[in-house]
Assembly symmetry: C2
Homo-oligomer: 416 residues x 2
């Protein structure tokens, strides 16, 4: 058994998985489907010959455990599921890199590392089929709203509990998997960035500061329908005018916040005809920040602006919260270790927040010291068949994750 | 036979027509329907006992002609058809006031006025059923696009030619009615304002300067979909931002134009989801002005602004013309006479353009000297059951139209 890490093997395995579970439209590893089951089997086979215990927990998360001298556990997590027509790396880079790290640790410590090391493959991170992301990790962290999840249906009308039963999972017991975290001492997750920050700076890797908190609202401005020909401009109560003024404003709000982002993703108008001033205009606003107080400030500023624009346009405005989640700032020690590991691998690092959510956010909120590492995404995009990362960067990411795992084991040991 | 004009009689007849052809939801005199036929019969009966010739022309327009000393004709036009659930006065005020004016002229001149006087009730001004307004008057003026009209269908799939056949009209011959204008020397049309200008100034009546020309376009901005969490603000190509900036801008453009109006009536976004920057944003822009050069300038300014905003947002922009019509400025002499008639009736007048189109625009563009008179609309709205006008103003409008008809007869006589 070689003691050397082989990032090339991980790249080969990623390609093999792509051939097995993708097609011309991209990755098709949608959770709880036969292709996903095949991907899981592929993953399981990677651990054969290693001294690990394997099991699926109550929520369908897969665990491979290498027992160490200490019961305290280092978790390396990812997700092998993808969106339909997804990218080849999103999620599975984490699990397959985790396999390689486990191989190296097992070899180096002759099957008995200083702390217990586990690779977890979370079930249904993407939520592509049922519209609820982070299913497995939120069941494990305890944040899953079981009553809400019970009612979820896919586009064919199949209920989540029935889909789970098909793959041998009892929906009513999914939260029992929370016990898996009893000895968790640290959680590491490697992921492609899915954005353009590292690409723009021509950097292979970055240490992630945490996942953004999100405030997501629908904002409806209510004015008055009026004939486009007979209504003088100064007599209008134009709901589109009020809503439109929000767009440049959210750019200012985001700028003032530092690293926050704000997005108006949709706009609908009523009556929505060419010959009438808009009576009702509904926009959606998604705001994200790594710091709770700054997120709250961004939200308050947007609300104040909407009220000002509404008043100036003779409109009323209503806000409806669609969803929110608190920021999950990662463990400062682990962020430092992550940065060290990256610098040792490629000489330069960068700290950045994660806009998208990840399973790591659930672990962080469950109280497990957590950090993520990002590797550059070509094109800066994901959830698309053109999603890609240079092989050189993939290899560096496996190497840096391995260094981070080693440092984290020492950190756990030192803390105990 | 009394020589005196009786505006009260017109108001009584309007109420009678409302009872006959309206319901709790408003007026139901949709063209070419049985209720419209009943309204037409009611109108026809108003002329009984007067020395007039009556006939329906090739497009279904109804004409009542009082022959005068001169073959030259004064036309008083309106439309008895309404939109579904329409206002009780929109259109029929004109025709019934015309009846009363004809009664007065016939009485005063013992059935033989100085010039021939005709009341015309245009067919399907509203275009409510087939989506093509000014049907009868555009057939008469010659501007009707016969190939386009041939293909029009109502919501039940009935073709316009078939609906016309039901009421005895041969679609292929509708433009033959153009001969009705052979001796037309002036065209007068009284209408409710349908906007708030006279209401705001607390004025009963106004002289209309002409109908606005219209430039109607769809504008599509094309940017790039991007994840709302992972895409920094300065990396976005946000099509909604570019489109939104058009809204305050069109208010500035309208202001600079003097009396022009600009309306963004609808906005659609793609992919239109809360978690993505908007890739494509389509808005409709309706611009109206009384002067062709100013309308052209408004259009050019909007186009330039759209290109500027697109560039600043990293987007492309495409314009598609949906419709346009040239302004129809009314006859200056007749506008003066209209103002005189109004001042003699109620002491004060106001000149204003018409944002909505009217049959008068067709007459104007056919080369017939034309003017319209507006009477105040309560609430400033129309095409709605709450549309209304004070009885005092209705009476004044009939009186002023009568004075204008008298002045116009003299003007025709003087010009011949």
């Amino acid at each position: 058994m070689s003691k050397a890490l082989s990032p090339e093997r991980t790249i080969d395995e990623l390609k093999e998985l792509r051939a097995l579970t993708g097609n011309a439209d991209g990755a098709q590893r949608v959770a709880f489907t036969p292709v996903w089951v095949a991907a899981r089997d592929f993953l399981r086979k990677r651990f054969e010959g290693l001294p690990v215990e394997m099991h699926d927990d109550a929520a369908g998360n897969f665990w491979a455990t290498l027992r160490g001298d200490s019961e305290k556990e280092l978790l390396i997590g990812g997700h092998i599921d993808s969106v339909p027509n997804g990218g080849w790396l999103d999620g599975c880079l984490n699990t397959l890199a985790g396999v390689e790290v486990l191989r190296r640790i097992s070899a180096q410590y002759h099957g008995k590392p200083p702390v217990t090391v586990r690779v977890v493959d979370w079930a249904d991170e993407e939520g592509a089929r049922f519209g609820k992301s982070l299913f497995g990790s939120s069941a494990c962290s305890g944040s899953l709203d079981i009553d809400e999840a019970r009612g979820l249906v896919d586009k064919d009308g199949i209920k989540l509990p029935d889909a789970l039963e098909q793959v041998g999972i009892d929906f009513e017991k999914v939260k029992d998997c929370g016990k898996e975290l009893k000895n968790a001492a640290a959680y590491l997750e490697l992921h492609i960035e899915q954005g353009p920050v590292l690409l723009d700076q021509d950097l292979p890797l970055g240490a992630v500061l945490g996942t953004f908190g999100v405030e997501r609202h629908a904002i409806t401005f209510r004015g008055q329908a009026a004939h486009s020909g007979s209504t003088p401009m100064d007599r209008r109560r134009d709901a589109f005018l009020a809503a439109a003024r929000m767009s440049p404003e959210i750019y200012e709000i985001a700028k003032r916040s530092g690293i926050g982002v704000c997005t108006i993703g949709s706009c609908t108008t009523k009556p929505g005809i060419v010959t009438s001033v808009v009576a009702d205009c509904r926009i959606t606003l998604d705001q994200r920040h790594l710091e709770a107080d700054k997120l709250a400030a961004m939200h308050a500023e947007a609300r104040a602006a909407s009220e000002r624009f509404a008043e100036e346009s003779g409109c009323a405005v209503e806000w409806e919260r669609l969803w929110h989640i608190a920021p999950a700032p990662f463990d400062p020690d682990l962020v430092n270790l992550c940065e060290e590991a990256i610098k040792e691998t490629c000489g330069v690092s960068h700290r950045l927040p994660s806009g998208p959510l990840h399973d790591a956010a659930e672990m962080c909120m469950a109280g497990v010291p957590t950090v993520m590492m990002f590797t550059q995404s070509l094109h800066g995009i994901s959830h698309n068949k053109i999603e890609d990362t240079k092989e050189e960067h993939l290899a560096q990411s496996v190497e840096a994750l391995d260094k981070l795992a080693e440092k984290t084991m020492a950190w756990i040991k030192a803390g105990s």
